[in-house]
Symmetry: D3
Subunit: 260 residues, 6 copies
Amino acid sequence: MFLHKSILIHDVHVQNPDPVFAEKLLEQYGGATGELSAALTYLTQSYHTDNPGIRDMLQDIATEELGHLEVVALLIEQHTNKASANLQNKAYQSTLFAIRGPGPHLVDSKGLSWDGRYVNEGGHVVRDLRANIAAEAGALATYEQLIAMSTDDGTREALRHLATREVSHTHMFMEALKSLNALDQPLFGDLKPDETVNLYFNLSSGPGADERGPWNREPTFQYIADPLQHEMQQHGGRSKASNEMTPPGAMPDRNPATNR
Amino acid sequence: MFLHKSILIHDVHVQNPDPVFAEKLLEQYGGATGELSAALTYLTQSYHTDNPGIRDMLQDIATEELGHLEVVALLIEQHTNKASANLQNKAYQSTLFAIRGPGPHLVDSKGLSWDGRYVNEGGHVVRDLRANIAAEAGALATYEQLIAMSTDDGTREALRHLATREVSHTHMFMEALKSLNALDQPLFGDLKPDETVNLYFNLSSGPGADERGPWNREPTFQYIADPLQHEMQQHGGRSKASNEMTPPGAMPDRNPATNR
Amino acid sequence: MFLHKSILIHDVHVQNPDPVFAEKLLEQYGGATGELSAALTYLTQSYHTDNPGIRDMLQDIATEELGHLEVVALLIEQHTNKASANLQNKAYQSTLFAIRGPGPHLVDSKGLSWDGRYVNEGGHVVRDLRANIAAEAGALATYEQLIAMSTDDGTREALRHLATREVSHTHMFMEALKSLNALDQPLFGDLKPDETVNLYFNLSSGPGADERGPWNREPTFQYIADPLQHEMQQHGGRSKASNEMTPPGAMPDRNPATNR
Amino acid sequence: MFLHKSILIHDVHVQNPDPVFAEKLLEQYGGATGELSAALTYLTQSYHTDNPGIRDMLQDIATEELGHLEVVALLIEQHTNKASANLQNKAYQSTLFAIRGPGPHLVDSKGLSWDGRYVNEGGHVVRDLRANIAAEAGALATYEQLIAMSTDDGTREALRHLATREVSHTHMFMEALKSLNALDQPLFGDLKPDETVNLYFNLSSGPGADERGPWNREPTFQYIADPLQHEMQQHGGRSKASNEMTPPGAMPDRNPATNR
Amino acid sequence: MFLHKSILIHDVHVQNPDPVFAEKLLEQYGGATGELSAALTYLTQSYHTDNPGIRDMLQDIATEELGHLEVVALLIEQHTNKASANLQNKAYQSTLFAIRGPGPHLVDSKGLSWDGRYVNEGGHVVRDLRANIAAEAGALATYEQLIAMSTDDGTREALRHLATREVSHTHMFMEALKSLNALDQPLFGDLKPDETVNLYFNLSSGPGADERGPWNREPTFQYIADPLQHEMQQHGGRSKASNEMTPPGAMPDRNPATNR
Amino acid sequence: MFLHKSILIHDVHVQNPDPVFAEKLLEQYGGATGELSAALTYLTQSYHTDNPGIRDMLQDIATEELGHLEVVALLIEQHTNKASANLQNKAYQSTLFAIRGPGPHLVDSKGLSWDGRYVNEGGHVVRDLRANIAAEAGALATYEQLIAMSTDDGTREALRHLATREVSHTHMFMEALKSLNALDQPLFGDLKPDETVNLYFNLSSGPGADERGPWNREPTFQYIADPLQHEMQQHGGRSKASNEMTPPGAMPDRNPATNR
């Protein structure tokens, strides 16, 4: 069960309320990279793993993210709600709060409703932890952008805390993946890979599009410079074995019935 | 520019067409973890990075995923289209193909349209690469489940290739992250973290909910067993400094105006 | 801030796990009438009212609904997760859990993602409380249907508790509306109504479509049996005043430029 | 069957066309609280009830709402369409109408498409009528905000009529609920509630979060000040009966297998 | 304004109610190709054209489609509502109606809510009429499939009427386009086309992928067999003019800064 | 399989970058009428037809549209990315790019994610080709509006090419429909129409709402001036046959049990 305490997980003291900035803050209340996405992702994932330690970690962090959601809510409330003549003029700049009323709403900075598709989970703990590391990177990027756009010290200070904790959670998820030996190596799950597992297909080609790097370099990977030619040779070999003839100069049609 | 060649990136030979299984295959044509999600994610990300090597890698892999999308399309086409009396009876089991017609559609296994929110990108190369590793894990998990559910050898063989390549791409993205020193350490971007960066809050507590592991263990992390108490102490210190009185036994209200 | 306790707000003891029934249960995890909709609605609403009592009530109930979300999650987990040969056979009947994995997911019984549009709030406490009464009625209706479809005593007992609490919350919201004198009378807010406020327009007419009841009966309402005639008479009066001519027998065109 | 008459249910005379205000008006054409939501909700509900009077009332009001939809359409048309040099300059301020063209579109003020999820119905007449009262409150709130933002007398006059009718409909729905004895008491439907039906759980606690009011006051409700303690006592009682031991000082784990 | 008459635009006499077939019928109540999509598309379009005849035609047909929506609603109502022991058993096969209750709902056959994106309009009468012809073709295709799947004579007879009228409307829209000289020739609107207007790019190539037909045949079109070569030649010419050097054998990089 | 070449299908040279205009350009990257909608529609349709020529044409054009998507991507990239002090100031005007980062994103000009519902296909080649003609008209209309709003010569020149090609594709689709004899006549598919196929129902009536034109003129169509009367007469005939009495002056209730 959950309990709620009337003490914030981090203080919120907005000095210069700004409804237009509050629209941007909605990104972290009802947006894709926001605190609700994080809380519901980790909570849902926690019911999928039998590993008691990771289950507990996911519920600890999910609960913290609910507390962060509340911090974002209060930031938005203070940016839209504080009574002052100055604010009234600014309020007219925000259609969203004029129509929906002040305070947080479950939408992003463009007014788009939060969507369950933001929750990235699928019943496999390694997949889920990797998704979490990606999600935290997204949340951090949004916070950095919000901090850069904010001119209010109180707001920036609170955002800095929320951003800090995204880094902390990333660290925790990485440690959990390390404990499963899954951080720096692809896992095959139940898969018996086929012979192409180390091939790199240079399918985008031309000047400036044939770059080399650790992601396509021997000996880890075998670089296939001309994948079309490679496919045709593979096919040619098999064709001969099955005694089919390919007319000279023609591209062999491996699958004539289906890919016209 | 793109070119299309009438040669498949991998053969498709369905032996026992099954429209009900084809519904499940839609998950990888128009579903969240499918090939379209991958292709459009990497293509969109490629326009966001100035790193020419990573830009090229993203376009190579995006182009390969378009070829995979075609392979999935032909699997679905063959599972729903092949003329046979046997198939006609099976076809009645699939409302989806009965109403929409045979062949691939841009929906998932439940008939839900593909959605741009599946594309996880945000203008920062580290975030994007991390999202890709997570996405490939999701795609792999779905392929494993599809392989486990399939009884058709031709289908399983094609799915095994597609699954293999997800592992290959994971490996490439990990190498790219390593080249940016971003695989195994959280990055702070422009963020100056606050003093809580190494704290672990045990917000989910009680028997079986106080597990310890590398993700909350000293010296990497400082374990806060009772975060509510921790917050109140933090607050108590600041309160004294500002000469406010907290009644004995009461929980200090750090933010009385806003969090009633 | 929120805390999570490893004690359920109500016991969950599924005796006969059934993945197909678990699909239906998803309606209350990730569906429109589910516990998440309730929790996020009341939490978001709580930031919109200055009335400290109603704010507290909304946060009390929102927190309870989070605990209910957890109960539903565990019902789904037990219905999909318990190891038994019998369950394995049943599992094949659920495409949803086969593809997504066991346990709860943020979708409804048809696999549609939860959507922020389910959250009904708008910055006015009377509107919000009325929406809540409606929402609880929807949740209750779904629980009744789930109970009717369930054959597992443990499941039915837990669902009965969750349904009971929806009634309890309805009662609380009604008492709150009564305390605002808003339960049984329409409120006008800032509106100065026009002269039509008590008219009932019989716009659907013909045999069986001219029923009378307290909702259109004098003296509360004035029944306009032929609204088209009524509109034309209203218009005729105004037309004369403005000295426009209407050809005899023709329907006056009140707005010739726009409503052709 | 439906008929359409070239006479408006209320006049529309916009004097000072303003495309930016027209964007806000879209909220009532294609938005959540708009006339389309109302019309389709009542029409769909009308097919669910066997009560001929309520069925007729729902169809009368649904038909009126279609007429209101037309009034909103013409308001938007006149605000975006009237030829004048002045309007041309203003038009550039509205990306929405610049790209989509003038006149109404099935989107809300942020450009988000109307969504069937706005239709709140579920096959039970009491639930449906309660939802309608809530929906009318939302529509009224939006109209009040639009009237407050409008500076055009013709627009305000038309909006005042539309807002008035929402109050009228609220009144009608309340009378219908009264005729079913369902306005001021929670109904239990087929539910046999459990023993918690009158408990109020104070799950949000701390200073300012323990407010009392009619919604949690004796004798109607029993106030549970410490729900965690309450749950543990309930559990303790049952535990003893079943002869399980709880270690002193520990929180009993009611559901050890599932809620770690 | 709209009026509703208690007379159906076509009779509905379901003889063998079948809730599973009713799920399929939802496709035409709340689905993409359904009557609601048609009604709202034509109604919205009618406010966009200044041509009084076409405006009237759109409102005539929109009003008819509302009557068709009612026919579909009653088909669904009768398929799910008629009291009979036989129906009770069938009802358990439909999760959708079990959970949502009998009668029509604003969803398609997979339970997905109707979406404003189904409304295809954009402020230009030619575009709108073309979209309508396409939409009617979609509606007809769905009706044909429903008729093929139906075994109930009363249902088939009603569906045949609805399908017939889609053909009628197609004919009307074609006549309207002919009256605008826009049926069989592409229109350029305000566009001054560039020199490529008659080129056909053979971008999909290989065996079976170089088909010729009226859509790429001279003299109407100029067939570009190798578009990549064509682009490079175009570029080569311009490059020389601007005195840039292209290394021999290399593919000229037309846009080096942006398309790596 | 697909190949990507580092040569654009049309040059992109933005001279005056403008992030606010780039928001509008998103309409053609991730919007309803954009290049992605076109590419995925034609690709998906290509798997539904057995006509090899039309299948090839659809894949040729789909591949071209992918190249157009890339052109739009680079327009957006150049409008948001070019380093200049001037751009920095303009950038603050675009919340969308400030929060999401520069470059293309899979959303429309209002920030709404691309949606699979934009893909209009359904397994019948005539329906599909008609949908394509409509879609191209929508794309052209959007390009015209973008060209009208653009003040940058390089941007306008690229947009003119993209718009030109939409006209070209329209022409090709029309030729394909002509080759199937389906351009200018409604097709009946498997439908045996009923006797109403040539009736025009004047359901919207009154001054200015009874226009006549080729779409409702004899001999092609029979104009039913008063459809309600027509329905009642039809019904009267049948009623007599079945010996039911209609009270004088009353509207006959054709379906008393269902349409009250």
